[in-house]
């Protein structure tokens, strides 16, 4: 383990993944994520972006290469509860109330009842769901369910947040509102985020860097730094620079689609 990798939030080196079916999902992925960064992975479906996320979370094992999270092997990081995860489906348990869903990871960590209760209240406050403590997940709208899921992922203060198309199933208006809320939460929590999405504007709006992937086999086609000023808000989406970056990502995606070799934009570096 190099000293350099130890200071990174996530360090992915030479990761490849071939599934047992023989499908090559990922080839030679290299990516370094600085602490506090918001990195989006974007690409066509089947490009392996969710697999990258799962490899970082030690939920899928890479066929080759190594992954360090906070300088530790991914497996150790998982056992140390270094990350929280949010899926496309909120994955809330119907047999638990909203409050009990948020406190699930805290129970796993062996927190006392009083400490759990205080933290759950704090987290529901953060995602603006106070008053829904004793509701059942299915009584909430899709956007509210996803906010519960985010509260749950952040409840134990993980340094890393893995998000797998968390707003993919929501309507455009809810998605934009949750994007804004997520940015505010991220700025408050100060955690590192790896965010998988298939929405170009979403990736540009949220991220410090957008990692563009291409498919068959999945690899990193381009990395585009997003230099939009923060705090970002409604006005950001109307910024000329926002449109330029959206176009840049779209072009990078298009280039990846014809299986062009990885290339860099004038402003970006290739990792």
């Amino acid at each position: 383990m190099s000293v350099d990798a130890g200071s990174k939030a996530v360090s992915i080196r030479g990761v490849s993944k071939t599934f047992r079916t023989g499908t090559t999902a990922l080839v030679d992925i290299d990516l370094e994520v600085e602490p506090g960064e918001f990195v989006s992975l974007i690409g066509p479906s089947g490009c392996g972006k969710s697999t990258v996320l799962r490899i970082v979370g030690d939920l899928v094992q890479p066929s080759a290469g190594s992954v360090l999270v906070n300088g530790k092997p991914a497996h150790r990081a998982r056992l140390d509860h270094d990350y929280g995860i949010v899926f496309q489906d909120a994955v809330l348990y119907d047999w638990r109330t909203v409050a009990k869903n948020v406190s699930l990871p805290l129970e796993m960590l062996g927190w006392s009842r009083a400490r759990r209760k205080a933290r759950v209240e704090e987290m529901l406050e953060l995602v603006e769901l106070r008053g829904f403590e004793s509701s059942r997940p299915w009584q909430l709208s899709g956007g509210m369910q996803q906010r519960v899921s985010i509260a749950r992922a952040l409840s134990f203060d993980p340094s890393l947040l893995l998000m797998d198309e968390p707003f993919g199933a929501l309507d455009e208006m809810t998605r934009e509102r949750l994007n804004l809320e997520l940015l505010q939460i991220w700025e408050k929590a100060g955690s590192t985020v790896i965010f998988v999405t298939h929405s170009i504007p979403e990736a540009v709006f949220l991220s410090t860097r957008v990692v563009v992937m291409s498919s068959r086999p999945g690899r990193i086609a381009d990395v585009i730094p997003v230099d939009l000023p923060r705090p970002r808000g409604v006005a950001t989406r109307e910024d000329t620079r926002f449109f330029e970056l959206v176009t840049a990502v779209r072009e990078a995606l298009a280039a990846g689609r014809v299986e062009a070799p990885p290339r860099s934009l004038a402003t970006g570096e290739v990792y």
């Binding site: 799962r54 979370g57 939920l59 998982r78 056992l79 140390d80 509860h81 990350y83 929280g84 995860i85 899926f87 489906d89 994955v91 348990y93 119907d94 047999w95 638990r96 699930l104 990871p105 796993m108 960590l109 008053g131 829904f132 004793s134 509701s135 059942r136 299915w138 009584q139 909430l140 709208s141 509210m144």
Partner: protein, 274 residues
């Protein structure tokens, strides 16, 4: 979104109130059917051994109420014993098969094949094994009948878990025990109750059929069989009606237990009349 905030009514009274109204059509059909039965058997002078009048059945029940009731309770105890034994073992087997998939894969084909065996045909054999007068001979048949539906349904509930639910638990570094406790077992409850409801009915059938092959005189199956042999058909019918009523009550008890343990389930929404 105001409807979302509305709490789920948990008061049983409101549910029962709502459900009583739902039951009015069924009640009307029931009363009409009995009236039709009474009317037709009277009008066409149907022989008692073919189909007794409901009034004759009711009279016979009243005249023999203490004997029939105690026979019913005896048989219900056999059925309940078999139910607890068979379903309990079924749940245990499902847990083991879900936990150790290799064992499951090795045993499931045999379980499915065994399920196709007409288990009731074993009644004379279990009578032979445990003794005609031993209630365990009937419990054994009821237990075997209850085992498969409970096991198969519970196993399905334990294994039909959304993959992300498991990934979420793994992200918390949770072990298999925690996955079972927090995800698989709660997820299996609605499925398990489907099995238990089938089993409640089967256990009563198992006990009565077991008694047809012999048992103590104070057992409902034996009583029904004797009545038909003595041409006392109204009394036999009264026994059948009682057996049905006990079977239904047993089923109702399981439904009630289901309601209290899985009130979190989205299907429970129907209880609140939404």
């Amino acid at each position: 979104m105001s409807t979302i905030v509305e709490p789920v009514p948990s008061g049983l009274t409101r549910e029962l109130g709502g459900r009583l109204r739902d039951w009015v059509p069924a009640l009307v059909v029931f009363v009409l059917a009995i009236a039709l039965w009474q009317g037709l058997t009277t009008a066409f002078h149907v022989q008692t051994f073919l189909l007794p009048k409901p009034s004759d059945i009711a009279r016979s029940f009243w005249e023999n109420k203490s004997a029939l009731w105690s026979a019913g309770v005896y048989t219900l105890k056999e059925a309940a014993g078999g139910f607890v034994l068979g379903s309990g073992l079924g749940i245990l087997a499902a847990l083991l098969l879900a936990r150790f998939r290799v064992v499951g894969a090795a045993l499931m084909p045999f379980a499915i094949a065994a399920n196709a065996i007409p288990i009731i045909a074993f009644a004379p054999i279990t009578n032979n094994w445990f003794g005609l007068l031993n209630p365990f001979s009937k419990m054994a048949i009821a237990a075997v009948l209850c085992f498969f539906p409970t096991m198969v349904n519970t196993l399905r509930g334990l294994t039909s878990v959304h993959p992300s639910s498991i990934e979420l638990m793994r992200s918390y570094a949770a072990g298999e025990t925690a996955v079972f406790r927090h995800v698989r077992i709660p997820n299996s409850l609605p499925f398990m109750f489907t099995g238990l409801k089938i089993s409640a009915v089967l256990s009563m059938i198992g006990a009565i059929v077991g008694e047809y092959f012999g048992g103590p005189t104070n057992a409902l199956g034996v009583s029904i069989l004797n009545d038909t042999q003595l041409f006392d058909f109204p009394r036999a019918w009264a026994g059948i009606v009682l057996a049905s009523a006990f079977g239904l009550a047993f089923y109702g008890l399981v439904v009630l237990a289901e309601h209290f343990t899985t009130s979190w389930h989205p299907s429970a929404r129907s209880f609140s009349g939404e």
